[in-house]
């Protein structure tokens, strides 16, 4: 019982103190948020160490090349951080970021175009419902109207027609949909937060 009630008491009391601080006592909220940030930072470090340990185990036991590459990348960045700290190198970590992480992230993000097109095609192929057709039709109409409004080959009245379609979809339907989504997400977040603060949900006790 104590094992379950102590975390519950900590969650409720720290949640209430944070709320109180955010509403009326800014110094208190600053203190608690700095504690939470420190704790989250420590948790992140433990997570990274755990990742390192798991892949080291895979490398030594299974001889996995991919795990070796992951370990190599991690060790290189940690090594550069130490040499930066000892002033042996300058901006070594930033160089690793600019040479490796930034191009890889940008390449993955740009590859999203292919993934999206493939996913759209697969959706239409596998689930031919009215909603799928509406989704793909919206995307196709918008893409075509974007392309047609950018060209000067079409007569003005045709361009205006496509422009009007595009504007109505973007400025009326999408605004309403996004607003509905955001309000729905906010209501969900409020409900979940209240359940956590009242102790009705206890994810830390699972």
């Amino acid at each position: 019982m104590f094992k379950r009630n102590l975390p519950l008491a900590i969650a409720i009391s720290f949640g209430a103190l944070t709320l109180l601080g955010l509403l009326f006592l800014p110094d208190l909220s600053r203190l608690i948020l700095s504690w939470a940030a420190f704790l989250a930072a420590a948790a992140l470090l433990l997570g990274v160490l755990n990742l390192f340990a798991i892949h080291l185990q895979r490398l030594t036991k299974e001889g996995s090349l991919y795990s070796g590459i992951l370990i190599l990348g991690m060790t290189a960045v940690f090594g550069l951080a130490i040499t930066d700290q000892l002033s042996i190198t300058q901006n070594g970590v930033m160089t690793a970021f600019n040479w490796i992480q930034a191009p890889l992230e940008a390449a993955l993000a740009s590859l999203l175009a292919f993934f999206l097109l493939f996913a759209g095609f697969q959706t239409l192929k596998r689930q031919r419902s009215l909603w799928t057709v509406l989704f793909v039709a919206t995307a196709v109409i918008l893409l075509i109207s974007q392309a047609l409004t950018a060209t000067t080959l079409l007569p003005d009245n045709v361009r205006d027609l496509f422009n009007a379609i595009q504007n109505n979809i973007n400025n009326i339907i999408a605004v309403a949909g996004m607003r509905g989504l955001l309000i729905g997400i906010a209501l969900g977040a409020i409900t979940l937060s209240l359940r956590l603060l009242l102790g009705m949900d206890q994810p830390y006790n699972k």
Partner: protein, 212 residues
């Protein structure tokens, strides 16, 4: 060979490894993804150590008897509890540290959702110029929200059914939602296409400048 050119070559090779996924999953793609995971995890750890852990450690070392330093004993205690996650028989103590994070996070999320999303979205509807467009947006917003409502009753055959007044109009809300997803899909597609062309343009320009 200058450092910039080496960086450019590494970036180009890794980018090509990632793009090789277009022809299917392959070892070069997996290798570059594992490298990305390793480097980004280590980078985030270094940032956290430099900007959060070290300033606190310096403060405690420099002024160990000050009130601010002594107060850090509380989060340090919770960090110690977190370390017990692997200790047999004592693992439950780490739940207290997670509970602290959940409690603080829930309070921040509650106020954030109220003041950062819900209130601005509702006031944005109220502050819009009165006109047919605003009225249509308001109606479609309500219908979109209604499409998320799953309160109803079970029929005799065990099938779930919405209340009568919702049955037709909820489809309008769902259609609004689907069209919005279509718009978001196109926006994301455009962004990634622009990113793709800018990456290719960047490498071409840089190689033209670097090569004799």
């Amino acid at each position: 060979m200058s450092g910039d050119f080496i960086g450019l070559l590494i970036g180009l090779i890794l980018t090509l490894f990632i793009y090789s996924y277009v022809v299917g999953d392959n070892p070069l793609y997996r290798l570059s993804v594992h490298l990305l995971v390793g480097v980004s995890a280590a980078y985030s750890a270094v940032i956290v150590i430099r900007h959060i852990i070290l300033p606190v450690a310096n403060q405690i070392i420099q002024n160990p008897t000050e009130r601010e330093s002594l107060l850090w004993a509380i989060p340090l205690f919770f960090v110690l509890l977190l370390l017990l996650k692997r200790a047999p028989g004592l693992a439950w103590l780490s739940n207290n540290s997670v509970a602290l994070l959940v409690g603080v996070g829930a309070a921040v999320a509650l106020l954030g959702a109220l003041t950062g999303t819900l209130w601005p979205q509702i006031t944005a509807v109220a502050a819009s110029d009165p006109g047919y467009q605003t009225i249509i947006i308001a109606i479609l917003t309500v219908l979109t929200l209604l499409s998320f409502q799953f309160t109803g009753r079970f029929k005799k055959d065990g099938q779930w059914q919405r209340p009568v007044w919702q049955r037709g109009i909820v489809h309008i809300g769902r259609a609004t939602l689907i069209i919005t997803f279509g718009v978001l899909f196109v926006a994301l597609l455009n962004t990634s296409l622009i990113l793709l062309s800018s990456r290719l343009g960047y490498f071409l320009t840089q190689l033209q400048q670097q090569l004799p």
